[in-house]
């Protein structure tokens, strides 16, 4: 329940922020060509990234917030 309340707070903050849609983008669209380069992609190969995260989560106590996700196996 506490988690849901926290998430609701974050949602409210972001909802409020969307009201500021007149913020001038300080990085213009024509300045963003580097982000279209494949080497700037954090999740270039999703299957590969998911698998590696699975390796971590199967052998570590920590979990979540990794931005990429793995999977399970009988790894005891």
């Amino acid at each position: 329940m506490r988690a849901m309340i926290r998430l609701a707070w974050v949602a409210c903050a972001v909802t409020g922020a969307t009201g500021c849609s007149n913020v001038e983008p300080w990085v213009k669209p024509y300045e963003r060509q580097h982000f279209a380069d494949i080497i700037m992609s954090a999740e270039r190969d999703p299957v590969s990234g998911s698998y590696l995260n699975h390796v971590f989560e199967a052998r570590e106590g920590a979990r979540g917030a990794s931005g990429s996700h793995g999977g399970g196996c009988g790894c005891n």
Partner: protein, 378 residues
Amino acid sequence: MNLPQRLVWATAALVMAGAVQAAVLPDDRADVLYHRYEGGGVTVDGPSLLLRKKFAEKYSVSANYYVDMVSSASIDVMTTASPYTEERTQGSLALDTLHGKTQYSLSYTLSDESDYTANTASLDVSHDLFGDLTTVSFGFSQGWDEVRKNGDNEFEETVDRRNYRFSLQQILTPQLMTGLNYEVITDEGFLNNPYRSVRYLDDSSARGFSFEPEVYPSTRTSNAIALNARYYLPYRAAIHGEYRFYTDTWGIDANTASIGYTHPWGKRWIFEAGYRWYDQSSADFYSDLFPRANAQNFLARDKELSTFTSQMFSLGATYELPSLGWDRILRSTVNLYYDHIQFRYDDFRDITAGGAPGTEELYGFDANVFRLFVSGWF
């Protein structure tokens, strides 16, 4: 088998569906991957297949089929059981849809093996703000698991899982992109491994210790927050880094830090190198050796719940294949990644090494991880 492994699949299909990149549906692609893990007496290998396709201009559907073939003679198995083999298969379906600057993603995943079945449904929403410099995402997953025990037809337990996710991606400069991920995970049900045991001092045993089944709490809540950054260098190359802090109600605190470097070579090659550090404290109810039988309400001797550190060294190469002359294939790549991981445990002892109880050598092992895959965009 442990529960965190199931949890990560709760959102795996979402990432495959490109849920974290709002306002643009993911590219149509197909991947065929072979994975292999070797370390600590365990070998896990198998395929993973992904197919993703857009239709009607604002929908994208993806399907993933994944197999783990496990052969285990791990230290846990060698001390309290017999080596075994098993297979886990998993199927995922995901649907993305785009409405203006908002992307909605739905997915369903079914994972099945002889003694565990996991069902997971997920919903994620992403929205672009501030001239598309900012992407905000929320996600929720619900999981329903069934835990069984081979050789005991009477044994049947359940687990209820919920994930709450929030992420923020921010372009700060023409070269720098940063991100924040926050995730809360709650579990309720049978959270321990029905096969694993803890050991305790026992003068009546010739070895000086005996084993009894582990007992975990029936609930667990974890919080994890991660910050990451990716920077385009003055020449065509990129560096990236990430830090994650983790804490949970079982008393585990963990730190993860990683850095990486990506360097293209010519028109067809991309090389990568990386390093990752991980450390964690033990769960409150973990002990390598309890003073007596039933020493406390909760008992664990799972090395994943002990105090340990790991380091990973990574290398990778991608080669873009020359045009195959097929109109439908826009481009294709062959990829090979290798990771070497060193696990060093601070309070988990190798009882196969011999010695008086509680004085055996501390355990540690190295693992090698391979990923070989072919990707095609169409």
